[in-house]
Amino acid sequence: MSSPARRHPPPSTEAPPASRGDALRAAAQPVGLLAELTYRCPLSCPYCSNPVTLGDYHDELTTAQWQRVLAEAQELGVLQLHLSGGEPLLRRDLVELVAGARELGFYTNLITSALGLSRRRAEQLRAAGLDHVQISIQADEPALSDRIAGTPSFQRKIEAAHIVKELGWPLTVNVVLHRRNIDRVAAVLDLAEELAADFIELANTQYYGWAWRNHGALLPNRTQLERAEAVVRAARERLKGRMEIVYVLPDYYSRYPKPCMGGWGKQQLTVTPNGDVLPCPAAHSLPLPRASVREDSLAWIWALSPLFQRFRGTDWMPEPCRSCERREIDFGGCRCQAFQLTGDAARTDPVCHLSPDHDIVAEKVRAANERTGIRDGVLTPRPHRGHPSSG
């Protein structure tokens, strides 16, 4: 910092406008990479967003292949690395991958069920430089949590959460909300406070993969949502400065769609266990050309592949998005949801009240509010493990 005295520009946390130019530069630099290291998982949550075709992902990338992907991601501008799955701790090379990621400068997040996060493993990850741990919990108490997870796991999660705090990590507790646990939000918040979590994410289920298959039984009713929101509002006030609460609405109840991934191919990319690269983790469901790190560089895939270019920007938009003043706010919503609900990925997300297909969502919401019991409907658990050799 040997610069001579100069005029003081106001301190700012705003990036300058992205430079424009050739096609490579037209794609803004990605900020985050979701590395889905494996779809194997000890849990069998019915809200899982992993593909229902888990069998297609057995051929996992090797350590060396992941290391190459991470190096390419760093060159592309990725700053945040989310290590997820399935259960990322099932990868024996996780510590090695974390150490390499830290050397590349990533802020590294482990998104885990915490099963397999023994003290020894945790210490190794800490030494490797892992920055942050996010532990999923299915409910505030063992019986319900274990029932949703499909396996005894609650106690081990609590033990792991204590270890995370003891080792000095920031801890995020993540609870996916749905019809069967949303009434427990107050107790869930108490538990997170007890665990001294720094952040809690109360994310209503998004309906992809297994969750889509189970959406009829997972979608809460309006009364449940209103109660939960009141609890969250009060807790935010009470816990201000101690624990940050992120609450994600179920988008079926929203007036406008979610800004999925902050825009297609705009900020985020996902690499699946077998090396497919996706603009969002659910995009494997779309009838679009594949892109894989086994065949092409991450830079080419991000900037130029037909997959990433398909819905980038606003040119692809139909009405009512095309002329909507919110087109750069919610980007037309979620392409996967549009495809799932209408069969056409290029339509406006039917969640939007302006969508010509909105009645599809309205009908699902109506059905959820007609059913009275919170345990109505059948839930299909995802298989425990997506890998034949791991039992």
């Binding site: 910092m1 610069s3 005295a5 100069r6 005029r7 003081h8 520009p9 106001p10 301190p11 700012s12 946390t13 705003e14 990036a15 630099q29 985050g32 889905e36 899982c48 967003s49 501008g77 700053l79 945040q80 997820s84 400068g105 802020y107 997040n109 885990t112 069920s113 920055d131 942050h132 996010q134 532990i135 999923s136 000095g168 920031p170 995020t172 993540n174 996916v176 720094d198 952040f199 994410e201 994310a203 289920t205 998004q206 992809y208 993969g209 969750a211 201000k240 400065g241 940050e244 994600v248 979610k258 800004p259 999925c260 991934m261 902050g262 900020q267 985020q268 969002c280 983790p281 659910a282």
Partner: protein, 120 residues
């Protein structure tokens, strides 16, 4: 934990003049001693050629001035000290800009105010 949620990454702290710091923990005055929160990491990003502030699911892109301010936030210097330190480097430093910048980051829990200090 595979469940999709809208990604919140690349939250940028905006410059709106929201009332921040009304509560004790984030009140930023000229005698506050700020430091980067322990869960945050600042580094230079060679790709963007800018400093970035990274935390759990958050990315803040800083300009040089912002990075210079944070570089001297060590939990011992007060905001007044920080302004003085910057005066050696810049020919004009507006106290209020620095204080507001730090208050905004404190409200986002990127910056903490140190209460226990070793005064030797």
């Amino acid at each position: 934990m595979p469940s999709i949620k809208p990604i919140r990454t690349e939250k940028r702290v905006r410059t709106e003049k929201r009332a921040v710091g009304e509560r004790g923990s984030t009140a930023m005055t000229s005698s506050s001693r700020p430091k980067l929160a322990s869960h945050m990491r600042m580094r230079f990003d060679p790709v963007r050629q800018q400093h970035v502030l990274l935390g759990p699911e958050s990315v803040v892109v800083l300009n040089q001035t912002g990075a210079d301010i944070l570089a001297v936030c060590d939990g011992r210097r007060t905001v007044a000290d920080i302004v003085a330190a910057l005066r050696g480097r810049y020919d004009r430093v507006i106290d209020e800009d620095v204080r507001l910048f730090l208050a905004r980051l404190a409200a986002k829990r990127c910056v903490e105010i140190c209460v226990e200090i070793d005064d030797e």
